[in-house]
Subunit: 413 residues, 2 copies
Amino acid sequence: MASLTRSAFEALDLDDSLASFRDAFQLPDGIIYLNGNSLGPLPTAASQRVTAAVEQEWGGGLVKSWNTAGWFQAPRRLGDQLAQLIGADPGEVVVTDQTGLNVFKAVAAAVSLRPDRKVIVMEGSNFPTDVYMVQGLLHLLGPDYQIRFAEKDELSAAITADVAVVCLTQVHYKTAHILDMVGLTQQAHAIGALVVWDLCHSAGIIPVDLNGANADFAVGCTYKYLNGGPGSPGFIMVARRHQGQCTQPLTGWWGHAAPFVFDRDYQGDPGIGQMLTGTQPILSFAGMEAGLDLALAADMTAVRNKSQTMGDLFIRLLDERCGQYGFTLVSPRNGHERAGHVAVDHADGYPIMKALIAAGVIGDFRAPATMRFGFSPLFLRYTDVWDAVDCLAHILETRSWDDARFHERAAVT
Amino acid sequence: MASLTRSAFEALDLDDSLASFRDAFQLPDGIIYLNGNSLGPLPTAASQRVTAAVEQEWGGGLVKSWNTAGWFQAPRRLGDQLAQLIGADPGEVVVTDQTGLNVFKAVAAAVSLRPDRKVIVMEGSNFPTDVYMVQGLLHLLGPDYQIRFAEKDELSAAITADVAVVCLTQVHYKTAHILDMVGLTQQAHAIGALVVWDLCHSAGIIPVDLNGANADFAVGCTYKYLNGGPGSPGFIMVARRHQGQCTQPLTGWWGHAAPFVFDRDYQGDPGIGQMLTGTQPILSFAGMEAGLDLALAADMTAVRNKSQTMGDLFIRLLDERCGQYGFTLVSPRNGHERAGHVAVDHADGYPIMKALIAAGVIGDFRAPATMRFGFSPLFLRYTDVWDAVDCLAHILETRSWDDARFHERAAVT
């Protein structure tokens, strides 16, 4: 195969059906932002929407905006919209709380449906907050319960007849490897277990069909590929067949069947509303609506194809131009097994990433050695992939990364 | 005593040391806002702060704002500020999550310190989310645990040697009655129990001295008298002597001792950080800072005096001008026993409140018959109290409230 040239990337941009979405984002000049898998950039409409929420709704409407501006209904309204993106039905999703709290609720709800089983299967190498939250839950449930840890190739063997819940993140936060949602769900159901899917690194970047997979529960965040803003609310999906059957323990007043009756005792909403807890951060809700609108407006097949192609091209360019510098590909080379980002290990990954960021190419670093590059198709151009690797190659050729200022560790990386 | 006149209220405004704070708020024209006890109005600086968080921090700084804009540290930084207002020390408070979730964490933490006791004392008539959350917790802890309900005059008798935790809202959400924090805490400690104080209707309106009372835990919200915006984050206080001793079950990655090591297993932060869960809604944090700044700039004794005087005058005017219309005072008449709002019952409270709101006087209604009027001293004038009662008297004299449009029930009231 002939070496790649920048003009080939320019041609891809000219032919890109998603190219116009870039204009909907405010991106700083001189930046190639390969970290939309951590925090998506600002949609221009989000800025306007937040200003309206502050000025007109809070400032002008005051307390009556709970009704007139739809604040109280926001978790259900946005949940119904988000449902379209993840293959759920209206009334099966609410936007609320953070991912970790939603994991706590979803696993507790699943456990409540399988009272005779005490094993939760989880992937120990995936993003730890899901494990931490289940550990907190099991601490309350008592010593009979346990987490059975299994890595991706061990999952099938771990799903045995004593398992209550399989709780998995569909796309691995480090490697971007995609688990087989249909197959694992089927296997869990075959032995009578339930499945909770964490979609943090899936929603908005790969097609997700929860009901097509017959999923039981799902959770996720909106600040990555859905471009919802820093700490924007998470979501939780409960398949309709489980609603009114399961219970979750974070029983706040928004989850009550009649929250404004102010009854003394909790009586859970019979529908998805039972997954709500209490008063939600409305300004952060306002910030996420524009990003969700953009995701819904985009063709998800085109999104997937563009992201996968960008990742494939990134890997090929990295081989061609930086192959001699000691990188190890952590993500699957096969694009069909890989979601939105590409991870590579390098012994000097930390200072190399710092040098890249200083040069305007923003990826991120996960200890001990992993550099992540996210390929969000709504605001990135194919030429950004070329230019990013070009910048990386230059940093490596000149060894400019080996500078004291790039070795200094920040509090949050 | 001679009848009150508006000019007496004008004189009070001229002599009001807090009068200038009103200029820091954006209040709609023609509105008398007596609902700051539900949702405080918009500080002008909050609008600017949110715009900066959206445009410069999210839009311009992108993911690096977790460090450079102090997003990750916001719960501790704002917690240390808020601590000054409630008599806690630096490192004893974090701003995070919502009140209900913080109740769940605080009661679970307190219970973890008293493993041999199974009774939680609560006031059943107070705002229900605290009770609901404890009911959810006890469902996990098992059938040995129970809530012992006691109303204010029954609390002393209910605090017996089998009690693990006394969980009380200091100021009653309906009546504004203030519980004796010092005395009840002392009584609980005397029999070996711990106390969780909910400060939702206290913080920013009456002087609170948690450490002066030797309190164990506290929680609260910031959207009422702290004017933090719709659904702005709550807070939780853990006395330093309990930190590292107690555990709470919502074990998200922000509460880990080393969140960026991404260890597989949860290890709680030894300090107040263990009360954190996961990624926080940053835009809602940005929205609350201005209100907190204003509360910290105000003299709390002056705040308390003005609020109490406004409430006293409101009650006296209501007696004088509306005494024949069938109101029943629900709040304590004695201003020393009453916090920031005044509640009155009326058989037609709902349409009367709707008529008041239509006339620009905004209070709220709590079923079945309670009208609440909040007296936030930072943005209200004494003449607002006069004008509000004047408006109410007119509505009653003309029976203009008895109109079909005022009887129609809204979803959220």
